[in-house]
């Protein structure tokens, strides 16, 4: 079993999650190397040598034009689009299999059966649902899964076989360009692409253990029972929970994606959410969550608004001429270009915003500039340095 490595990805404001996952995993499987890819920079915020995991940074991965990759994607997109690079990196290091786990997970039981499957098959995934969604809203929940992807991107195992390598290479290429939330086009970040896994990889294994990847989207079909120290799910041992969308500062709510779900209504599973909140807070959450994202600002300290990332992304290869997009000083920098005055709309950035908003089509000149300052800046999170 030593030929398998496990890894997760976080920006540093999420470090407490990675610590809790690593601790819970290593408590069960102390011999398995556990890596954390920091999709960010340490910047003295913590001492990697004192952490329970082995640290990897984006610079360790073979990402082409890394500054463009980090600029065009948001913090969340950078983290998920890094997954195939991370898995390939671990296989390149010589591990026979690499297992990715989302950071917001807690290992609660023996993962050996899943690890054995990861080693035996070229690829493993876990579905969001392993049985039809029950109850009145069942159809709606299923359609939501069809929009977001049948398999959860939080658990991925790949072995060093040609078919798995081919899939990772293709997935990496897709995520470099198409890691977006656009469900009407068939895109949901990294995840929808995984639906093609059983088609592209012979022998890909769908892990249907109800003890794996228990989360808000399947809790209705998983009966959780706590029996002394043992947690059982549908009568079988719980292996790991996935606290997707859980906010440790709002432990009364199961997930930000379903605000109506109250932890108190979960029955026995509520205790597991409480336990998790305590672990995350114990791992320094309140302090860590404020650690700044290294790729959140231009090199002059001005925060990068989301819309500027989208603008840059839309330029595709034409953006190469700017050089490093984080740099503001050079005469041909992206920052200066964004701020260059244009007729009617103030600056290039604001013209892009104007064009992205059909509802503002009829507003021009002074009226648009007034809207920009009074409403637009707040709506799009535009810092003062980028006002028209």
């Amino acid at each position: 079993m030593n030929s398998l490595a496990v890894a997760t990805v976080v920006a540093k404001n999420y470090l407490s999650f990675a610590r809790v996952l690593a601790d819970s995993f290593l408590a069960r499987h102390p011999g398995v190397p556990f890596y954390v890819l920091l999709a960010d920079e340490v910047e003295g915020s913590f001492d990697p040598a004192c952490e329970p995991f082995r640290l990897l940074t984006l610079a360790d991965l073979a990402i082409p034009q890394p500054e463009r990759f980090r600029f065009r994607y948001s913090r969340r997109q950078v983290a998920v689009a890094s997954k195939p690079y991370l898995l390939e990196h671990l296989l390149d290091r010589g591990f026979a299999s690499a297992l990715y786990l989302d950071p917001d997970m807690l290992v609660m039981g023996d993962l050996s059966p899943m690890i054995e499957q990861a080693l035996r098959h070229p690829a493993i995934v876990t579905p969001h649902l392993i049985a039809p969604a029950s109850g009145h809203g069942g159809v709606g929940r299923e359609l939501n899964i069809l929009q977001c992807g049948t398999f959860n991107g939080g658990v991925l195992g790949f072995s060093d076989t040609p078919a798995a390598r081919r899939f990772l290479g293709w997935w990496r290429e897709r995520l470099y360009g198409e890691c977006r939330y656009e469900i009407t086009q068939g895109l949901y970040y990294d995840q929808r692409w995984l639906d093609l896994l059983p088609a592209f990889v012979d022998g890909a294994k769908v892990v249907r253990d109800p003890g794996c990847n228990i989360a808000y989207w399947n809790l209705m079909e998983r009966e959780v029972r706590i029996d002394g120290d043992a947690v059982l799910v549908n009568g079988r041992p719980a292996r790991f929970f996935h606290f997707s969308g859980f906010d440790p500062l709002r432990p009364d709510r199961v997930t930000k994606y379903r605000p109506e779900l109250a932890t108190a209504d979960l029955g026995p599973a509520a205790r597991i959410y409480e336990h998790y909140a305590a672990l995350i807070n114990g791992a320094g959450y309140t302090q860590i969550v404020a650690w700044p994202y290294r790729y959140g600002t231009f090199d002059n300290g001005v925060p990068i608004p989301e819309i500027a990332r989208q603008f840059y992304d839309s330029l595709a290869d034409d953006a190469a001429g700017f050089g490093d997009p984080f740099q503001t000083e050079p005469p041909g920098s992206f920052f200066r270009w964004l701020n260059e005055p244009v007729p009617f709309d103030g600056t290039r950035l604001w013209r892009f915003i104007h064009e992205s908003r059909p509802d503002l089509e009829a507003i021009h000149g002074a009226a648009f500039l007034e809207w920009a300052v009074r409403h637009g800046a707040a709506e799009f999170g535009i810092p003062d340095a980028l006002l028209p």
């Binding site: 069809l146 009407t184 068939g186 895109l187 692409w193 639906d195 093609l196 059983p198 088609a199 769908v206």
Partner: protein, 388 residues
Amino acid sequence: MDFSRRDIAGTVAAGTIAAKSALASARVLADSFRQYHPDIPFYVLLADEVDGCFDPARESFRLVRLAELPIPAFDRFRFHYTPQELSYAATPYLLTWLLDQGFDAAIFLKQESLVMGDMAPVLVELERHPVLLTPHLLEPPETGDPVARELNILLSGVYNNGFAAFVGTAEARCFLAWWQERLWSHCVRDVAAGMHFEQRWLDFAPAFVDNVGIVRDSGMNVAHWNLPERSAANVRLFRFSGFDPEHPERATRYSPRLTMANLGPAAEAYRWYLSLLEAAGWQETRSWPYSYGCFDNGEPIPDVARSILREMGGDAECFGNPFCTSTRGSYFGWLHEPVAKGVPRLWHLVHGTRPDLQRVFPDPLGKHRRKFVRWIAQHGRREYGLDE
């Protein structure tokens, strides 16, 4: 259970579904199937009524009538779908019915297909898997905008329902029962919402059923979505999806990418298929009228009246048989009841589904009523196919 070639007869049945206007396609498929698998009985489910157009006893297949299947609220089911939706929605009902006849396994083939080779090497997999599915793509495409082709598959379903096979195990039957329930009301094309007729629901099969067999034989489901990657040699099942014998030069109405001129060797298969359809009488059968196309007073049913009834869900029960026009409280009467002078309810409901009409006639029952009534007479009736 033994599905090996020698003992396959009697344990397996195959079937397709067609309205009678597509009877020529069903004849061609049935004949081609019998040529390679003479021992497997072939059934055609008529999603329509015979109405004296042909003599079932003289056909080469066994005819199944829709009324023979245990479809709940049958009158609403055949009313609230278009002919295409109805034929797709009946798929799991036919498969379940075949298993109920005592066959150990049931194979579904979609109507516009041609068996061109021995499928035994695929069918033998039923010994090891309770369900067999065929992916649209077996590897990432390399030509013709690969990303767009992949996204198109993600929106329409990873597995093509041109071929699907189910063994009568409890788990497979459970999946069919769930699929029936979903397709009773959710067999429409609304890709943004996660629906593509019957097909996208199949993405759940590997999640809901253990050990689903993914058929990766490149001779299965050769069609516009995987040409030119597939070789025209070694074809077992060719799918002429979107082929219109009146416009054979277009190959398929779904993809402008392919034409007879650039199909290469596959063009030969299309020409052959066209000649088979001609011999099977498509010129005659295509004009046979759809038996569920009119109310019982002879008025044609516009598609919008079908979708309105479907979207009403359980409330639609109050109308009784929706085809029936003579009873008090009939669906027909309700649709035609004026909600304002000159505005039958049907047109008010149409208005509710059309943002363009809402913009032009914001107050269709008041200020803009006259203009809206004029639009109904001059454009609406024609647009909704009510002017014949």
